[in-house]
Every structure is written in structure tokens, then in C-alpha cells.
Symmetry: C2
Subunit: 339 residues, 2 copies
Amino acid sequence: LAGVSPTTVSHALSGQRPVSAATRRRVQDAMEQVGYSPRRAAQNLAMGSTRLLGLIVPDISNGFFAELAKGVEEAAIEAGYNVLLCNSAFNHERELLYLETIRSRAVDGVVYAAGSPTSHREMVDSLGSIPVVLVDEDVLGSSACSFVSDNAEGGRLAAEHLIGLGHTRAIVVSTTGLGSSDDRAHGFATAWQSHGLAGPVVVDGDFTYDGGYAAMAAALGSESDRHFSAVFATNDLMALGVISWLLDAGLDVPGDISVVGFDDIEIAGIIRPGLTTVKQDVRLLGVRAAGALIAALAAGQSPPPTRHVQSVELIVRGTTSRHVTKESDGPAHSSHCHR
Amino acid sequence: LAGVSPTTVSHALSGQRPVSAATRRRVQDAMEQVGYSPRRAAQNLAMGSTRLLGLIVPDISNGFFAELAKGVEEAAIEAGYNVLLCNSAFNHERELLYLETIRSRAVDGVVYAAGSPTSHREMVDSLGSIPVVLVDEDVLGSSACSFVSDNAEGGRLAAEHLIGLGHTRAIVVSTTGLGSSDDRAHGFATAWQSHGLAGPVVVDGDFTYDGGYAAMAAALGSESDRHFSAVFATNDLMALGVISWLLDAGLDVPGDISVVGFDDIEIAGIIRPGLTTVKQDVRLLGVRAAGALIAALAAGQSPPPTRHVQSVELIVRGTTSRHVTKESDGPAHSSHCHR
DNA sequence: TTGTACGCGTTATCAT
DNA sequence: ATGATAACGCGTACAA
């Protein structure tokens, strides 16, 4: 060193106790000279805290989780934390491996975006006393702090929008079993029925572009039973798949069928016509989730088991239009509905 | 503990020296009972290695870097490493902060995707002896190991494709100063000129959808000097912006103008017509970069300063078509070209 | 205002 | 095949 004891160096940096200005200068100069910086590993060992946050996501290359990661990182760096990227790749073994990593690295807290409805409970429990916040998906039976978008409200907004345009028959393309998707579908159906309309048919499909395409194909490919003029897909990628299928089937969007999505991903505003969708601010969800976690950490506690619901917004673009009842509105046999 | 010395416990786990089967069992049982797992911080301190990789990206929510992160994580976890997410947000101060983080956390190695042409050299140098691999962008004057897609070849493929379709006049929308974009534009121009065609006009624009749109607007909005039938944009988002502008200007794609992009992002295959583009495998780029880094780490060295170039592939979709010279091929005053 | 001594949990070295 | 001891680098209670 340059003149003083290790103790003084430590306090000069942490400010935990008074250090004379002259001494502090000498310490800082010495640091500059040798390019010294405290080794985190040693600090961890001495203090018990790592200032490291674990971020568990199923697929970081998925735009949703990438956006979430951005928000989490933002809040983390702001508070002097770093983020350990844990990509479970929808693989349970990988998830368990990361659980072990999180324990052995003594991560201070975890932001857990499960992304699929499998065995969350077990995961959350096995974190033991490590503080966790859940994002996007609630975990049944677990009293953990969670941050979700108002999925049901989003479904309701989509329904009200379509109803306002005169639509009376719709189908919903949703990924059954996925909490967020179910909530969106349920919110849509509830609003739909509250207007005295016949409950929308729910079609199951993967939470992807192909899933949306396949769902439409499976539900409507063989039969010509198109008693609907609108589709609500529980995410934008599915909605794009739905639109592709409709176009391939020779139908016009929104001329024949209106389509509403969910998320407001970048493509939604790029395609022509633009996709009408329910926008959720995923980055902000990440910022808030990590913020709550960090606040709890600062207080030496786990975050309170509150369910934080973030509002969503309907973005009206070009894939929805007023429904007009016309002769060509469906296959011949459906016209008896209008008698 | 349960019966033996700390030394034996350590060796029972590491296998660094023979331990009797009975003893190993007792150790394992004891571990299960108390849910013990070695604290990484202490291992770091004792061994000097953290098995942590730093991943520096400018924007994790950008599909390119998210995909890259996925590949890096994959290779890392495979080799028992973890990934520290460093999102610089295109902010130099943030980048310096992360540099300090990387040093203090004693990260074993760094995967550095600079993403912009500012001050890389300084960054790489200040990492000191920490092994680095560069991804996507080379760093001038730095003899670091780098992994890039064959950008020039991609540009060439795009040019050859358009030339094969009979196009003779093209413009290139590129982000000047961005190495990868410049390489793509240069590869295109070189191939173009090698066929004796008049060099393509290069228009500058941000590396985004809006950048592509604005570039077209700036270059062609006021004048009607459309002496071209094809556009090569150096990434897909820009290409989408270009297409949007063309459509807004009342032009047909590919009827009037053919458009080629670069990257093959998901949207490219979703939009109608599909975007003809040059595909690069970003995930694989990440896997290879991290793999080389880890291999070097295992050998106790820095990765050799080789420039690894990964091949790219032309994906022909619907935004390119044969160029036919017709009356309506341009504004009236341009027809004198055909005399 | 500064210094001393100890502990954090693990591994390397040497000894048995 | 196992045990004892000394680091690793830092924070902090305690003493000065």
C-alpha cells in the first residue's frame, strides 16, 4: 500500500467511519497507480452479500423476456446490483441446475419469469429463504410477490373494442394452461358474455406464430363453419399466425375478419395493415419487479407477497374494422342465422 | 460436519485425490441433510477463478443481441460457466461502469459485442489481461479474437441475386461508420461494380426501422429521380422501413422495386410478401465465440487473435423479382435513359 | 483518527 | 486414504 493500514483503506472507500481528507487522497492516489479495485469475492465472503440478482427466464431470445431482462438490468445497475442470466430453455433440469447455481453463488435475490406452467411451485419453494419476485406468471399456492400485466383487463379491452365495432361472434386463440393466456382469454369471454353475446369459442394453440396458424387451420381448415367475424389471439405472434392463415384461406383482414393481438411487439406497428393489439409495458414490468426486490433486500426482508397488476392499453391499428352484415358474410348455410 | 475433516470433504467433491467409497457416502449424506452447497465466493478466493463470463451488449432487448446472449449462455452453462449480463445501453459511462464490475467481480473472460463504433479500442485495452472475444464488430487496431458473420459475402450474395434478376441500378441503405454495415455495403458495391454496373448510391440511416424509412425519405422524398429498381438494406429492420416508405410512396414491392435485407429476423418470414434477405446464424456466433473463450480459459491462455468468419446464406422470398424494363418504369424524364 | 486481530469457506501443501 | 495448517482478500469489532 501507500502509507496506511488495510483498515483505513477499507474505511476510506466505504465511508463507514471518518477518514481524514489527506489520508483519503493518498489512498485514492495509490489505487489509481496500481489500478486497484476491491475483489468482490472477498467482500462477499466477509459481508455475506453478493449484490447479485438472478434472472430466470425460459428463453432470453424471446422478445418478451429480452425486454424484461432490459428492465431488470436497468433497475439493478441503478442500485449497484448485477444480473446473472439464467436461461432455462424451457428445460426443467436446466432450471434445477440454475437453482443450485443461485444457491452456491449466494445470489441476493431472484427475478423469476417462469414462462410455462410446469412445476413453479417446487421451484419457488426450493429457493428457500432467498427473496424472489415472480413476473408474468403467478405461481399457484405460493405466497410470493408477483408482477403481472392486467391480462384480464386486456382481454376485456379487446372484447369491448370489437363489440363497439359491431362484432357479435368471435373466436379466441389461446394457449390453454398458460396462466397469462388463460387470463386474457377469460377476460375477453367475460366481457363478451356480459353483453349478452354467445360465448366465444376458444381454440388452443402454441404461444407462437406457428401456433396461431395451426390453431386456425385445425379449427377451421376442414369445415366452412365460419360463424364469426373477429379473432382475439392472446399474443401478437399468434395473431400474426392467425392473419397469415386467414390470408392464405383467401379472406381479407380486416375486411372479412378483424383480428386483435396482445403485447404490441415491434412488428405490430410495422406490418400493413398494423395490428390492433393490447399493449403491455414489459420493460417497466421488469424495472418494477427488480425495484421491489431490491427495496426489500435493502430492508433486509423478502418482498411482501403482494400481487402487483400493471395496467395495459388498447392500441387500435388496421386489423380491426366495423362489422357489416352482408350477403357474402359467410357460407350459405349460415345465412339462416339472419332470418 | 459428519465425521471427517474439511480437507476430505473438499476432495470427496472435487475428486482431486482418492477418497474411500464409504467416506464419500457419509459426506454426501451429510450434504443432503443440511442442504449444503459450496459457496462460490470462497472457492473464488481460494482458487482465483470465478467461472463467470461477462457478456457486454449494447441492448439486450434487441433481437440480435438477445439471440447472441442465448448462444453464449448455452456454451457457458455447458462448460460450467455462468453469464453476467452487462447491458451498456449504448452508453459509454455505463460501459466503463461494467468494465469496473468485470474487474472487481474477477470475471474469467468477456464476450464483447460492442454494437457501435465508439471507443472500442479503449475498452478492449482497459480490460487488461482479462481474455476477450469480440463479436459482430471488429475493433480496429486491437489484436483480439473476433467472431463475425461474413458480411461482405452477404452483400455479394445480395448483389448477385439482384443482378441475376436483371436489375442494373440499385441503392444501398447502410449505417455509415458501423463496421458490419459498412462491410455489407462494400461487399454489395464491389460485386455490383465487378459486373460493370454503375456503383450503387449509398444512403445513410440509423440501423433501425425508422432509420430505413427516413433514409428513403431523405434520399428520394423530394425528387423523383428514381433511377433504380432495387434496394439493399444492411439489416432487416431497415429493409422493413424501406418497404414501408416505398408502399407509402405508392410503389409496389417487388413489382416496382425489389428489396433485400440482412439478418433473417423472425418477421422476415412472416410479412407478406416475405423478405428476401441474407441469413446469419447469430446464436451460433455466440456459441462459437463463448466456446473459443472457454477453450482458451481451460488452457490458461487468452484466445488466439484470429478473425473467425462465419458463412451466411441468401434466403429468397417475395420482395425480389425479375426486373422488366417497361414504360411505367420511372418518372417521365427518366425515360431518356432508354433512348 | 488509526491500527490489530479475527473470521468468512474453500483449496493447496505438507505430513501422516 | 486422511488430517492439519496456511493462505486467499476483505470487513469489522475492538483496542489505542
